[in-house]
Symmetry: C2
Subunit: 339 residues, 2 copies
């Protein structure tokens, strides 16, 4: 059960390089480690950022892939959470310190010493991947494994804020951007019971947002339309990674409303304090969620039949899949399959 | 009880003009109105802003004063909340629409149609002032009326966030700025049970902050000292009205921490999203509180012997008082007295 293994992966050997077949030796499993047979692995924008060393801390060979769905192949001697054959998922984190306040209070995703799955660790563009048991999420029976991968990063990124900030079913909410994250946010918020407005600048995506469950759409590039929505929302979730006129969006919030960012923009937010002060508004941001919140998400997705819309590529076509994503053509997420 | 009255006040007749004796006729009291005999009235920076038309919506003659402490002189026919002789306070708001979601849910301070005490309404630099019963706060016996005025604006502005954002006694908190608002924030947070750090650039104020109950002080102008406090606080309350390096302060927050602004800065906040994203931090702001929260504040202040530090001037010396405040010499708040 715990023997050393050769893992067959696809790795970039240098920044921006094409992925190549790459094998590495994995030692005997440590007591708390889990080895996962990768069935499917989503391709996320942050995989591309790491492969291209956009953030400056990539090491090569680099095996990306952090939206892993598979079955437990083997477990270390101290693992009781899962057993071989169980369906599991692995997301952005492959381990936590287990000893800080965030870990102790169920916010492992905020652990400052968390081990990212694809930073200094080999990820899921492979036949197998390893992780600490604490980072592995159990996938309930009934979840469609082929489409589930993107829930592990895109999904939990938009689902976790609903838990963290106590979004209520009676809330009026909006999602900025209908893409990989946004198309899941619309589905989650609809199922949450909220009245959902989707902001998008694309006519095609407006139509799709309505099909996904949005009750209304607004043009994210039309100032007048946004101004007319002043004071409308309890919660606005931004999933875009471009700079918009955030003060305009803050003004769409009701008193005590929250503008929450899960899309990362590098430009400063440039917020006018007065648009927040008189109405007690908040602005916030968050990363992925804890393993427990990932498991809650799976239960909720199962109950409400929420699925990422994916395009599936065989794992061997990882380079084609990446090119497709880079071209902005993915609808809405890409999954690599070992099956 | 409800007859018309001549009210003797001090008014500016033009922007920046000295205040002059000014009388006006008040009609018969409306059903829900309360007439207050002003005993004391605090002088707040926003009085100066209104007197000088800094915000562009002042009308003259303008009677400022919105930190009123006094006794009920008369009540309208429908008033049951207070009776003549009761000790009451009046803050930034003299009335609310009574009919919006914020009013209905106890957040009258966020009512978009609230009537400010000194905007299109004559305030408390006078022998009497009138207000709707809903806006009047009852002052419990035992509160020192001479020093209580500043609680009605400065006090509630720093106290209300503790209620609104569920600040816990076990929280580590910081107050940026030890002035009119900050010296009250330090006292409230100490009494709340928190470990309190005061940020100030003044050596004198450092010493005073410790006397007021702060456990620690840090130099608000010393980058290295602030950097060394990274990850320390659950809640940071900014009471200053100048631009600081907010990203530096956001980094003093723990995961899930909140930087809350009650001091108003006109310059954009310039926030880096990444300083918020990885650690799920929030930034927010709020105005004064509801009448019910003002009454909670009075009970809390009484229980914990919290008092504004004030300098008292006779009402007739309102111009001298204003000049003293403008020179930045007030320690920490000024109160005008009719006694």
């Amino acid at each position: 059960m715990t023997q050393a293994t050769t893992i067959h992966a696809y790795a970039a050997l240098e920044a921006g390089g094409k992925l190549e077949a790459f094998s590495y030796e994995a030692d005997e499993l440590a007591a708390h480690q889990v080895e996962i047979d990768v069935n499917h692995c989503g391709v996320c924008h942050s995989d591309l950022s790491m492969l291209d060393n956009e953030w400056g801390f990539s090491n090569y060979p680099l095996v990306a892939g952090h939206e892993v769905v598979g079955r437990v192949a083997a477990v270390g001697s101290a693992v009781s959470k899962v057993k071989p054959g169980d369906s599991v998922g692995l997301g952005w984190h492959a381990g936590y310190c287990g000893d800080c306040f965030s870990c102790d209070t169920g916010d492992q995703n905020l652990c400052a010493a968390a081990q990212p799955t694809i930073v200094g660790h080999h990820g899921g563009f492979a036949n197998k991947v390893r992780a600490d048991d604490t980072a592995v999420a159990r996938i309930p029976e009934g979840i469609d494994l082929q489409t589930a991968g993107p829930l592990l990063c895109a999904g939990i990124t938009v689902f976790n804020p609903l838990l963290q900030f106590d979004v209520k079913s009676s809330d009026k909410v909006a999602v900025i951007g209908v893409g990989g994250l946004g198309h899941l946010a619309v589905q989650f918020l609809k199922a949450w019971g909220c009245e959902v407005t989707a902001f998008t600048s694309s006519d095609t995506k407006r139509k799709e947002a309505l099909e996904l469950g949005a009750h209304h759409t607004l043009n994210s590039r039309d100032e007048k339309e946004i101004e007319a929505a002043a004071g409308s929302f309890d919660f606005v979730l931004s999933t875009v990674n471009v700079k918009l006129d955030w003060n305009l969006y803050i003004n769409t919030l009701k008193p005590k409303g929250r503008l929450h960012f899960v899309g990362a923009t590098l430009e400063p937010l440039d917020l006018s304090l007065f648009s927040m002060l008189l109405t007690q508004r908040s602005v916030s941001s968050s990363p992925v969620g804890s393993p427990a919140s990932i498991e809650q998400m799976f239960e909720f997705a199962l109950q409400h039949n929420i699925k990422p819309q994916v395009e599936v590529y065989p794992m061997q076509q990882v380079n084609e899949a990446i090119a497709h994503l880079k071209e902005g053509k993915a609808k809405y997420r890409i999954v690599l399959s070992n099956n």
